[in-house]
């Protein structure tokens, strides 16, 4: 298991677990971040402190610390 923040841009991973506060977690899952789903780290926004992720064809930004709610297995 790993965190998205430790991955290299362009790398893909499978989501293992989704944590976090209920409404955040629910919204993440509703947007497609479900256990078993593949995500790709598109880029890190150095000045923005964000991670841009691709999930189910969509691009979604999460803050680096808040993205720790997603536990992943790099592929």
């Amino acid at each position: 298991m790993a965190l998205l923040a430790t991955m290299a841009p362009g790398q893909a991973a499978r989501i293992e677990a989704v944590g976090g506060e209920r409404s955040f977690r629910r919204r993440l899952m509703e947007m497609g971040f479900l256990p078993g789903t593949q995500v790709r780290l598109v880029r890190r926004l150095a000045l923005g402190g964000l991670l841009e992720l691709e999930v189910r064809g969509g691009h979604v930004n999460l803050r680096i610390d808040e993205a720790a709610a997603l536990q992943v297995q790099p592929l």
Partner: protein, 740 residues
């Protein structure tokens, strides 16, 4: 809001995820026949329009707020369900047009399933299928229709010339013939909606909750009751902001979810996973896929989100926006001012001279003028914001600015309201409506009025022009320009610090975590951009117009009454005496007498007396009672300070901030002992006061409306005015100590 009594046309709701082209489609279908209002109890705009079906039937089209899911936690999110399902006061739609983005099909289908479960006839408008084709992919429409149990029409909201086939399907759906053509569905399900296999315990939970769904919601349909049960299980929690949920349903959903949690199950996980399992099983049948490729958007973002280049381009764009707000809007503002001047003159020439003419010209016309004079900047500002939103760049701006804004306890989404604040706080306060959490919204609303809005500009221009010479320092830097820039920087820093302080005290606790979707870039759709510009401008006029007008009129009364009879008698004598003077001198003597009368009348008016009364309070800041009168005048709208000072110094109210006569009067103004009233230090103290004080009734009225309480506007007024007093005190007394 009550559409049913006045309006017998069928209601069609247009629903979909954000960024699916829903609003573009709405604009295309309704043209300019739109009605903007507010939903009851919340300040989300309710946009409805009229649209004619091929048979000639007219339907009412409702633009449902974009959502990723019907599940809700806040009152604002709850609206999507209420509009789509037609519960809790919203009229029930006769049909729903569901806009799906073909390039984001699997995530969009999540919302689609929730909507279909409600059993209202649905027509799916599959948008951006042309984009998919460019990638070499194709949607199997027949498969989608079969599985969803609804008609699917390929559209391009942006490029299609007509939407006849979509509208024909809507007509069919309204006529009760909405199912897909071809063989019937295999599973023999009574509901039209797709049926999903769920874990047995979850089925039992849902059945339990469904029994608490009121008849007025379920309309006797089991499938619909189940759909509401799913919604309640996902949405209700101990401390949510939902208002329309029946108490029985709320209690049952909470109890059922807790019981499941004690058994080690999460109903959230099971419900969401079941929907995605249904989607994932079928996705390969829906989209015929070529090999995935890096999209155009990703290539553009490699530049626009580049750590250095991206930030540089963003700053460049901001410079252009500012240039537009302050330089390009000038001729337009001149036109508006000129036009209002003509209207005033015309009124003077028609009306008999006297109190009523004064009221019309100095109260009503001036009031309308101070409202419309802000319009050019507001239109320009919303042109840029609309353009940035329509192309998809706005989400990138929120991403670029998130770190800075977060350090201040705000989110990246607060950037647009803050930017709008440079034009006017009222539209900026309206722009906070896009923020999800009440805490984030309130915090943003409380700091936006600190930004240097355009009404402060004339005050700064007047004072800087009067008190600092137009010289250049360090070879090329003009002192006056430097001071102006410093005032902008000062207000921006104060706003950010205020946000940081408020977020660590009054609004302690985390803001909402950020989930920021980056939509694909697209060429701007000009009618949408212009339509948004018009909509925002009209909501500014609605929100601020009346207040500014009323204040200007009230102010005119305060500064005109009671009449000073002694001064009027003196004035009459002077005019009589002037008749004996040589003809060349008569006009100027009368003019001087008029100005003198205006100045005397002001001094004895209620406003003038108030200025005297507050003199001890503002004296430590370096202000005399005449400036006090100007501050009272500025309360209606800051720029009124300039014309009030014109009256105070006996020049007349028709001056503007570029007026040399007014500048000379300011320089010449002296205390009784001969010291000048205005030193550069007093000017600085006065500008700081204007930067920080809450002298804007329409801002307070807008915040009252948005928060539905008097508490927040009172808080805003007190904290800003106290801050202004303290800061001006420090500037003036500190400056005196330093011997300035």
């Amino acid at each position: 809001m009550d559409a049913s009594s006045t309006d017998r046309r069928p209601l069609v709701a247009l629903a979909g995820n954000p960024n699916t082209g829903k609003t573009t489609l709405f604009n295309r279908l309704t043209g300019l026949r739109q009605k903007v209002g507010n939903y009851a109890g919340v300040t989300v705009e309710r946009v409805a329009g009229e649209c004619a079906l091929p048979g000639g039937t007219k339907v009412q089209l409702l633009d449902v707020p974009g959502a990723y899911s019907l599940a809700a936690r806040s009152r604002e999110e709850e609206l999507a369900l209420q509009c789509v399902a037609g519960v809790a006061g919203e009229p029930r739609p006769d049909a729903i047009v569901l806009v799906l983005d073909a390039t984001q099909l699997s995530r969009n289908l999540y919302l689609a399933l929730q909507v279909l479960e409600l059993g209202t006839p649905v027509v799916v408008a599959l948008n951006m299928a042309d984009q998919l084709a460019k990638r070499g992919e194709r949607v199997d429409v027949a498969a989608l229709e079969r599985e969803l149990g609804a008609r699917v029409v390929l559209v391009s909201a942006l490029h299609d010339r007509d939407f006849t086939s979509l509208l024909e399907c809507v007509a069919e759906a309204l006529a009760g013939d909405g199912g897909p053509k071809g063989e019937g569905r295999q599973d023999g399900n009574d509901a039209r909606s797709p049926r999903r296999a769920l874990p047995r315990e979850l089925e039992a939970d849902l059945a339990q909750v469904a029994r608490c769904v009121p008849e007025s919601w379920s309309l006797g349909s089991n499938a619909r009751a189940r759909a509401f049960a799913e919604w309640a299980l996902l949405s209700v929690e101990e401390r949510d902001e939902l208002e329309g949920v029946p108490p029985d349903l709320r209690a049952r959903a909470l109890a059922t979810r807790q019981a499941a949690a004690q058994g080690g199950r999460s109903t959230d996980d099971e419900l969401i996973a079941a929907r995605y399992a249904w989607i994932d099983e079928r996705m390969s049948g829906f989209v015929v896929r070529a090999s995935p490729s890096r999209t155009a958007s990703e290539r553009i973002d490699a530049v626009l989100l580049h750590p250095l280049l991206g930030f540089g381009l963003f700053l460049g764009l901001m410079v252009v926006v500012f240039q537009a707000l302050f330089a390009w809007s000038d001729p337009l503002i001149g036109l508006v001012e000129g036009a209002m001047g003509h209207v005033g003159d015309a009124a003077r020439s028609i009306l008999p001279a006297g109190l009523f003419a004064d009221f019309v010209v100095e109260g009503v016309v001036a009031g309308v003028g101070s409202v419309v004079v802000v319009l050019p900047q507001i239109l320009l500002l919303f042109f840029f914001i609309g353009l940035m939103e329509d192309t998809g760049y706005m989400a990138r701006v929120a991403a670029l600015m998130d770190r800075v804004m977060r350090a201040m306890g705000l989110s990246g989404r607060a950037f647009v309201p803050m930017l709008s604040g440079y034009a006017c706080a009222v539209p900026a306060i309206l722009a906070t409506r896009t923020m999800e959490r009440r805490r984030d919204r309130l915090l943003t609303m409380l700091v936006v009025p600190l930004m240097t809005c355009s009404a402060r500009l004339p005050v700064y221009t007047l004072l800087i022009g009067a008190l600092w010479p137009p010289v250049v320092v360090a070879g090329f830097v003009p002192v006056q320009g430097l001071l102006m820039a410093a005032m902008y920087l000062f207000s921006t820093l104060v706003a950010l610090v205020a946000a940081a302080v408020l977020s660590r005290t009054l609004f302690r606790g985390q803001g909402a975590p950020l989930i920021l979707e980056l939509p694909a870039y697209r060429a701007p759709h000009w009618p949408s951009v212009l339509g948004m510009m018009g909509q925002r401008a009209s909501s500014f006029l609605r929100e601020a117009g009346g207040v500014i007008l009323a204040c200007t009129i009230a102010l005119w009364f305060l500064l005109s009454f009671p009449k000073d009879e002694a001064a009027q008698a003196r004035h009459a004598q002077t005019v009589v005496a002037a008749a004996t003077l040589p003809e060349a001198e008569q006009a100027s003597a009368v003019e001087a007498a008029d100005a003198r009368l205006a100045s005397d009348s002001l001094a004895s008016s209620w406003g003038g007396r108030f200025g005297h009364a507050i003199e001890p309070l503002i004296e430590p800041l370096g202000f005399d009672w005449k400036i006090g009168v100007g501050l009272v005048g500025a309360f209606a709208a800051r720029e009124v300070f300039v014309s009030t000072m014109g009256v105070v110094y006996g020049i007349g109210g028709g001056v503007d901030e570029e007026s040399d006569t007014l500048r000379e009067a300011i320089k010449a103004e002296a205390h009784a002992d001969g010291r000048p009233v205005y030193t550069p230090l007093v000017g600085l103290s006065l500008m700081v006061f204007f930067a920080l004080a809450c002298q804007c009734m329409s801002t307070l009225a807008a915040i009252k409306r948005e928060t539905r309480s008097w508490g927040w506007p009172v808080f805003l007024f007190v904290y800003m005015t106290a801050l202004a007093w303290v800061a001006s005190f420090v500037v003036h007394q500190g400056g005196l100590l330093l011997g300035l």
